[in-house]
Every structure is written in structure tokens, then in C-alpha cells.
Symmetry: C2
Subunit: 218 residues, 2 copies
DNA sequence: GTCGAATTTTCTGTATACAAAACCCTTGTA
DNA sequence: TACAAGGGTTTTGTATACAGAAAATTCGAC
């Protein structure tokens, strides 16, 4: 593994997991010493993070970007557009057998959710497989790339919301509905199911955020 | 201007204007000597280009990405989704006076098109102002960013198509229709007008490409 | 005491030297 | 003749030294 990759992965995780708060300035010497790499690969890592929108180039050094409530609205507005379209395309072009199998797994997901920590990890892995399957089914690399760049920010937001068992169970059912619509080859229904799911997710995130707002400085 | 910015701008132009053909490997020492900068800022430029999708990291060095006919289809599929949504949002949130003024200018655009070279530049600048106005009106930085990253590739494709006066005149009318729908505050119509315009553009590009296919090596 | 300018300090931007890895060509063998 | 292994060569990846710019601090004047 290259040093720049290592620095990138470490900083990305620190930002996504909110260990590096928004507004934090990432001084090059400081971070390079902390991560055990020299300034050159660190700068490359910072460049990648800035391209993804996790950091931005301020007057001096790069700064961890903030995610405000308005940002969440904007993010989900774009997400609705992209993932709605993707679901519709997957329904047209995807392999029904793959999505039918994913639907079966998603219907059994509540067992994972009510289980302990490692089982929960299995659930996230399953949802990730659905995303991957949709990415592959749409056969549009530009759309897939646009969705990938969005997901980074979404993981960051997910950390704000309390992933209680009730919400996760409901989300699993919503995902199953999406998989079912795609397997049935129904584009309009797949898009509608996706939009419903995203709105429910957004409501949940905003409700959580209103109750337990994350403290920022800057 | 920083050396890395200079290298980035030069390489970006070379790729977009097809002076650097798809498949060309951009060796670091070679390009840094050609552009008169050292390897460090050149690498930063290459990183930015790769993040934008104009180049990709191959086994050895970065190579200029290709744009095939399928890529063009994929690109316009995403463009339809994003710009359609953007036009609809602009119709809801935009300032009618701004778009009414742009519509007036677009109706007078045929004079620019039939004129000589510098007048043509004025026309492109006008279309660019419409894009900028839409970007500002939607007040969604993530959507705006997604469209910006698309436009780089679109400029590259535009170079493939022969921008004859007939097509440009028609395009100006289509743009005027979009501006009119936004000014009227009609989201559905704005989206429809955008989709119509994009399909006409795509047809034109593909027709041109079928007649005069650009030769690639790779 | 406060505002402003000059100086100092600290940080980023760039160049270059060195290390490591990937590729290519040669050479030997089946 | 085809294929594999080895070394050599080229190219990328990393570290560090130096230059330039921006911010902070201090000193002076009003």
C-alpha cells in the first residue's frame, strides 16, 4: 500500500467518523507527522479529499468541510434524482434473478438487525451489495461515478443519525421493495420505491439531528 | 498563478481540444519539461485530471481517457437527469427577471451566429451565462458541482461535432425556450424543454460522429 | 490605549535527490 | 519456436531542502 493511499484512507475515515470536526485545519507538517508519512504523499491525499468535497482549500491549508442542515437537504435532493434514475435503469437493464435473490436476503435482514454487533455489520454489507448490483445493472459509468461521490457524504451523515433497530428494520423492508420492483422490471415502481425510501431516510436523519445536534466549531 | 494550476490548465486544454489523443501516456518527466514546471506540481495536475475523469491511472503513468460512442450515450443519459432536474428547480426558485433577460438575448443570438469568429465567441459566452444563472438559481451546491464535472466532458465532445450555423441557430432557440419556461416558473415545461434540447444535441453529435469519426489509437 | 506598519515566524509551493517498483529486453531452455 | 526467468532500464513514489507568501506579533506613533 502506498503512503499516499494510507494517508488518504486515514484522513477520510477520521473525517467521516467525525473524529476530525468540521472547520479543523489540516496543517501539512502536523498531519504528516501524525500519520507517519512525508508531506508529498500527504498533499496528494489532501488533494483527493478536496476533490471529493470532504475538505476545501482555505486561505492557509485545507479545512474539513461542514455539513449543515441545508446541505443535507441539497444532498438528498441530488440523491433522489440520481438514485431514482438508477433504480429505473436497473429495472430496465438488470438481471432479474440477481435482484430477486437480494430481495430474499433483505426480507431475512430483521434477524441480522436484532442480533448483536457483527450481525449488524452483515446487514450493512448486504445493503452495500444492493448498491453494487444497481451500479452494475445500469451500465452507465458516469452515473455510477456520480453516485459513488455522493455516498462518501452520506456515510458521514449516517453517523449523525441514531441507527436504531426500528428504523433499520423499516429500511430493510424499503430496500426489499426496491429490489422487488427492479426484479419485476418495473422502472416507474423502482423509482417510486427509491424516492419513498430516501424521503423516509431523510426524515429520520433530520429528526435525529434536531434531537441530538452535533456540536461544531468554526 | 501557481505552477500546478498552469500545468493543470495546459493539460486540460490539450485533452479537451484533442491535441492529446485518447490513450496517450503522460510521462511525468516528459510533460514537466514540456510545460516548464517540475514534477511535483505536475503530479498534482495529473491528480486533478484523473479525479475529473479526463485521465486515468494505468499501470505505468496516467493515460488520456477515451470517449467512445457508448460513453456519449451514458454522458447524455446522466446529463438529461441532472440538467432536467436543474431546470425544474430553477423554474421553482429562480428570479424570473434574470431568465427573461437571458431569453431576450438568446432570441437575438442568430445575429451572432451568422457573424464572424469573435461574434461566435459571444454566443458561447451567452450560453455559458445561462448555465451559470441556472447553477445560481437552483441553490444546490452538490447538484451544481455534479453538472460542472459533466461539462468538462461535454466540451470535449462538442469538439467532435461540427458546429454549423444551422445547428447553432436551432440550439439558440431551444435555449430560449428553456429560459422562457424558467422565467414563467413552470418546472415541468422547463424540464421538458431541456430534455428536448439535449436529445437534439445528442442526435447532432452522433450524426456528425458517424460521418467524420475521430481517429483514435489504443 | 488603540491603530497601523514593519518584522518575524510559520506555513504552503516548488524543486530535486533518492528509493522502489514496474516494464522490457535479453538469454537460456524445453 | 515458444516460453520463462533474470537483469537492466525506465518510470513512478517518497523524502527533504529551499523559496515565497501569508498570518501573527511586536514595536512605534498618534
Amino acid at each position: 500500500m502506498r503512503a499516499s493511499d494510507k494517508a488518504y484512507a486515514a484522513l477520510r475515515d477520521d473525517i467521516v467518523e467525525w473524529r476530525l470536526a468540521p472547520g479543523t485545519v489540516l496543517a501539512e507538517v502536523e498531519q504528516s507527522e501524525r500519520l507517519g508519512v512525508s508531506r508529498t504523499p500527504l498533499r496528494e491525499a489532501l488533494g483527493r479529499l478536496t476533490a471529493e468535497g470532504l475538505t476545501m482549500a482555505g486561505g492557509r491549508g485545507v479545512v474539513v468541510t461542514d455539513i449543515s442542515l441545508e446541505d443535507i437537504d441539497e444532498l438528498f435532493e441530488l440523491r433522489e434524482t440520481l438514485e431514482g434514475k438508477a433504480a429505473a435503469l436497473a429495472a430496465r437493464r438488470g438481471d432479474a434473478a440477481i435482484f430477486e435473490r437480494l430481495r430474499q436476503e433483505l426480507l431475512r435482514a430483521p434477524e441480522l438487525i436484532s442480533g448483536d454487533e457483527p450481525a449488524l455489520h452483515d446487514y450493512y454489507e448486504l445493503v452495500g451489495r444492493l448498491d453494487t448490483a444497481i451500479d452494475a445493472a445500469i451500465s452507465n459509468s458516469y452515473l455510477a461515478q456520480a453516485m459513488r461521490s455522493l455516498r462518501v457524504h452520506l456515510v458521514r451523515i449516517r453517523r449523525l443519525a441514531a441507527d436504531d433497530a426500528r428504523r433499520l428494520t423499516a429500511a430493510a423492508a424499503e430496500h426489499a421493495a426496491i429490489a422487488e420492483a427492479i426484479a419485476a422490471g418495473n422502472p416507474k415502481l423502482a423509482e417510486a420505491a427509491t424516492i419513498v425510501h430516501l424521503h423516509r431516510s431523510l426524515s429520520h436523519v433530520k429528526a435525529t439531528h434536531a434531537t441530538h445536534p452535533k456540536e461544531h466549531h468554526g
